[in-house]
């Protein structure tokens, strides 16, 4: 079916290949399809207009590569443009040179601020920072209770004064306390507010003035539609936010709001929140978002196929290695990197060569942080160790753990899991179905129970 954008584009551009170059008529036709795809993805109407104009210029006269059909070529360009638009010059979190770093969180009601606060607290705590949270939402029933609970889970102190105090005063008091207690970071949670609510936007401005944050983050729900632009502009004006946290990305909203916000305010998306668990929090990857916005979540999209043609030889070699049990940690590292490049992991892990689209794995939440660790561990191994993990004992383990900033147990676990995986692949090569429990164990560090356990 003509679901995929590249399919639709190909249908529109079917006779281009013979001409070898895209003319204006072709490009206009392609732009119509792209416009539709972007609107479907909730990119703001006006942003789409501007974007397709720029895009048209790039596409005009673009050469049609031999290995890609014109539809694929256009999509490749769009993907690159989108990635560039959402990435590029952003900034990371700014940290204080002395005293606590203050991070102010703002956004509409229900966007996921409080959860994001706790996640950020945990994220920063992981790198050894001491974090405190300030409970400045005195309006929403039980908001303070919620922050206290999740803050504790995140390992952060929570400063609150119940719901009778003024949020601006609470923020100021919290900052004083954070200084006294020598916290590295103070994250200020605020009430959800409409950008058109003058009183509350005023309150936000006051909190900002009193706490002088190093970072102001706008929390935006990934399913936000056309309204994202208006919201972002208003918050940019009043709160002068530095970056965005995009939440609920574990859903299937295409997330065009990300492009809209960046295009209109120039502020980068810094973090992606991908689930309700505190660990589901990651740096934002513009390339993955671009693919997602274009509806190209499936690793086997046509572009990949085209590029895969080149890699066919490599894939064949890989297959042979798997069969003869010569598949090494080096190979695994390469595969993992390829998979990670292509999109968010949950659902994709089942696409590692030899695995097939295993349904069991679709629900296995993959912890990106975990994979970063795995990568680091393998990178700390020598080529010999990667080729033959059996030699990794004693002092080698210690060295690898030290070099990758992980614990010896984690190194052990990786080697063990890798062994299991190789066995499983061999099984599948010989036609036996793998054990779902084992599969799930591999995808994450712990077996996933049938119902979500939190």
């Amino acid at each position: 079916m003509f679901d995929q954008l590249s399919d639709r584009l190909q249908a529109t551009l079917s006779d281009v290949r013979s001409r070898g170059k895209l003319n204006e008529g072709d490009v206009d036709a392609a732009m119509r399809e792209i416009r539709l795809a972007l609107l479907e993805a909730d990119v703001n109407f006006k942003v789409v207009k501007t974007f397709t104009k720029t895009l048209k210029e790039r596409c005009l006269g673009a050469d049609v590569l031999e290995s890609l059909d014109p539809g694929q070529q256009v999509v490749k360009i769009v993907n690159e443009e989108l990635t560039g638009l959402m990435g590029g010059t952003g900034r990371d979190l700014a940290f204080a040179s002395n005293g606590p770093t203050v991070i102010l969180m703002a956004g509409l009601q229900g966007s996921g601020k409080t959860t994001a606060c706790a996640k950020l607290a945990r994220h920063l705590g992981e790198s050894g920072k001491t974090v405190a949270l300030a409970a400045c939402d005195v309006y929403r029933p039980a908001a303070v209770d919620q922050l206290v609970t999740v803050g504790k889970r995140a390992g952060a102190a929570v400063y609150e004064q119940g719901t009778d105090a003024d949020p601006v005063e609470i923020a100021a008091w919290a900052l004083d306390r954070a200084r006294e207690e020598e916290r590295d970071v103070l994250i200020v949670d605020t009430a959800g507010r409409l950008h058109i609510d003058a009183d509350l936007m005023d309150e936000l401005a006051k909190i900002r003035k009193r706490t002088k944050p190093h970072d102001v983050l706008l929390v935006v729900d990934a399913m936000t539609g056309q309204d994202a632009v208006g919201v972002a502009e208003s918050f940019a004006e009043v709160a002068e936010f530095d970056g965005v946290v995009m939440t609920k990305l574990d859903g299937d909203a295409r997330g065009g709001a990300a492009l809209s916000v960046k295009a209109v305010t120039g502020k980068p998306i810094l973090f992606a929140s991908t689930g309700e668990k505190l660990e589901a929090f990651d740096r934002f990857h513009p390339d993955r978002m671009a693919s997602r916005i274009l509806g190209m979540g499936d690793m086997l999209s046509l572009i990949e196929k085209a590029e895969q043609q080149v890699d066919e030889r490599q894939t064949e070699d890989l297959q042979k290695k798997l069969e003869s049990d010569r598949f090494t940690l080096e190979d695994f590292l390469q595969q993992m990197r390829q998979v990670r490049k292509m999109g968010p992991l949950s659902g994709l892990i089942g696409m590692l060569p030899g695995m097939g689209a295993m349904k069991q794995l679709k629900n296995a939440d993959v912890d990106e942080g975990e994979l970063d660790r795995v990568e680091a561990i393998i990178l700390s191994m020598t080529p010999l160790e990667r080729a033959n993990p059996a030699i990794i004992k004693g002092s080698r383990r210690k060295r690898i753990a030290h070099g990758s900033g992980t614990k010896i147990q984690q190194v052990n676990q990786l080697v063990k899991q890798f062994d299991q995986m190789r066995k499983m692949m061999r099984q599948m090569m010989s036609g036996n179905a793998p054990d779902p429990q084992q599969l799930a164990q591999m995808a994450g560090s712990a077996p996933r129970p049938k119902y979500r356990r939190r």
Partner: protein, 332 residues
């Protein structure tokens, strides 16, 4: 006449026994409609109830483009927008609608209201007790809506309401609902955190029956429709409720945030595959988002909007009126 509370609720046998609530005065209605898009504390330019004048200044080729832009910006989505614009354009071209601003505007409101009325039916509160299940994605306003609903039912209709805190997952979810229960004068049934949501719902219905309460409203945890196991959990909650009372839940409402884009359609679709969704509560209409996605939901899925949320206080809940909604959709 805009939709009244009496029209949006089917109170069954109770209906005739209750004193007729006062019909809303035109003043109050205008005031509330005004509040739909502006409130005293929000600084905004003066809004008129009319559709933006510039849209139908002249009727020419650009009119249809402007209209398309307005509808897309309202999150109506490309397919529904195309349908509506094509239809209107055709009617004007064929002469069925005269090519002047007023006539076109009025006809557009009619068409939009018609689309927004897809599947229209009242909220079924005829059960004794009537059981209402609230579902939806995280952060869309389920719990707040329940608080408002409970308040309206007890205040406007003198009904006794029991609330079930079946969100046993979210930190302080039961505390949040407890606060609303107190404000609304409703009883709360809850369990320890991490308890079984189905069990809470079951207990609440049982309690309501034992006490002869009129309505049970079941709050559930926010969940993404992409989480298969959580959708299964919802189906299970529904089944468990039915065990306590065979026809229950009598009404299942999904809350959709007005700022939601095209994903709203997916949400409504997948949720209704897990549980029978009877209607939508369109929340947070007090912002600048128009909630146009409900047009697609009504049009493609036949699931109507029944209530709208317009703020965070108890009173900020209204019956959905298609014509009012249509007008607000295109106003600036």
């Amino acid at each position: 006449m805009p939709t009244s509370w009496q029209e949006i609720f089917d109170l069954g046998a109770r209906g005739s026994a209750l004193p007729a609530a006062e019909p809303e005065s035109e003043e109050r209605r205008r005031g509330v409609f005004g509040r739909l898009r502006e409130s005293l504390s929000k600084s905004r330019q003066a809004l008129t109830e009319e559709i933006s004048a510039s849209l139908f200044d002249r009727i020419d080729e650009e009119t249809w483009e402007r209209l398309e832009e307005a509808l897309i910006l309202a999150d109506a989505g490309a397919p529904t927008t195309a349908e509506v614009v094509e239809r209107l354009e055709q009617e004007v071209e064929s002469g069925a609608v005269s090519a002047d601003g007023d006539a076109v505007r009025e006809r557009l409101i009619e068409i939009l209201a018609e689309v927004a009325s897809g599947g229209r039916s009242p909220i079924d509160l005829s059960g004794e007790p009537a059981v209402l299940l609230m579902v939806g994605v995280n952060g869309t306003g389920k719990t707040t809506t329940i608080g408002k609903l409970a308040w309206h039912l007890s205040k406007e209709f003198g009904l006794t309401v029991v609330l079930a805190a079946a969100d046993t997952y979210r930190a302080a979810a039961a505390e949040q609902l407890a606060e609303w229960a107190q404000r609304a004068g409703a009883e709360l049934i809850r369990s320890a955190p991490g308890g079984d949501p189905g069990a809470v719902a079951f207990d609440a219905v049982a309690a309501a029956r034992a006490r002869g309460a009129d309505v049970v409203i079941v709050d559930t945890a926010g969940r993404l429709h992409t989480q298969g196991n959580l959708m299964d959990e919802l189906t299970k909650v529904r089944r468990v409720i039915a065990k306590q009372m065979p026809d229950a839940p009598h009404e299942t409402l999904i809350s959709i945030d007005a700022t939601t884009g095209q994903n709203g359609l997916r949400q409504a679709k997948i949720f209704s595959e897990a549980v029978e969704v009877d209607g939508v509560v369109l929340t947070k209409l007090d912002g600048t988002a128009k909630g146009g996605i409900v047009l697609a939901i009504a049009n493609e899925l036949g699931i109507p909007v029944k209530l709208i949320g317009t703020g965070e206080t108890l009173e900020d809940l209204r019956p959905f009126d298609p014509a009012d909604f249509a007008r607000a959709l295109l106003a600036e």
